[in-house]
């Protein structure tokens, strides 16, 4: 069975600090995809990034970076120099061969001015 765990329920940091959101996943499939989504107060989920199981290369996009490590089944998300607009709920998700997309319970991030 697939599972995604986001152990951090809620995080608060002061603006301009760096923050890392943790994600640990479980799957028996060798081919799978991992995602991060952002849910602002409006409620709509915004896709941020995808990683497939064969590509462990880390990725950086502006202030966002992602660290994928198969050895620890983790796909962590770091925001550098956080801004108030980064305040949202962030979800990690997993898709394996059966086409189900399973989400973690999310991490609510508060960026304090």
């Amino acid at each position: 069975a697939q599972k995604v765990t986001q152990a951090q329920t809620e995080i608060s940091v002061v603006e301009k600090e760096d923050v890392t959101l943790d994600c640990v996943y479980e799957t028996r499939d060798t081919t799978y995809y991992l995602f991060w989504y952002k849910q602002p107060p409006s409620g709509e989920l915004v896709f941020l990034i995808r990683r497939n199981s064969f590509d462990e290369q880390n990725e950086i996009s502006g202030r966002y970076s992602w660290n994928f490590q198969k050895s620890t089944s983790s796909f962590n998300f770091t925001i550098t120099a956080s801004q108030v607009v980064d305040s949202a709920v962030y979800f990690c998700a997993l898709r394996a061969r059966d086409d189900k997309i399973i989400f973690g319970k999310g991490t609510r991030l508060h960026i304090l001015p």
Partner: protein, 110 residues
């Protein structure tokens, strides 16, 4: 480009009343379609997903059902709503590994 439409945005229904939420996708063919529910302050729970017309997989046994009468139409239904059905319902489509979401329906059962 692809778009997803989900309506209504908000809905208040009495206990025991029926429910029908509709989701349609434009600009793609044979997408995977998903219904999720998010209870207040909670994570996303996968309710149903479909890989083709008439093919529905149910993840959580409850008083909800889903149907896919057309390739790009996904409907979530209930014959009799319960208080516990309140929540934020999200429809999503996928033609690549990632899914894209509609704006959601906030359902309050009173």
């Amino acid at each position: 480009s692809q778009t997803i439409h989900q309506w209504p945005a908000t809905l208040v229904q009495p206990v025991g009343s029926p429910l029908s939420l509709e989701c349609t996708v434009e600009g793609t063919s044979n997408p995977n379609l998903y219904w999720y529910r998010q209870a207040a302050g909670r994570g996303l729970q996968l309710l149903f997903y479909s890989v083709g017309i008439g093919q529905i997989s149910s993840e959580v046994p409850q008083n909800l059902s889903a149907s896919r009468p057309q390739d790009r139409q996904f409907i979530l239904s209930s014959k009799k709503l319960l208080l516990s059905d309140s929540g934020f319902y999200l429809c999503a489509w996928s033609a690549s590994p990632e899914a894209f979401f509609g704006q959601g329906t906030r359902l309050t059962v009173v």
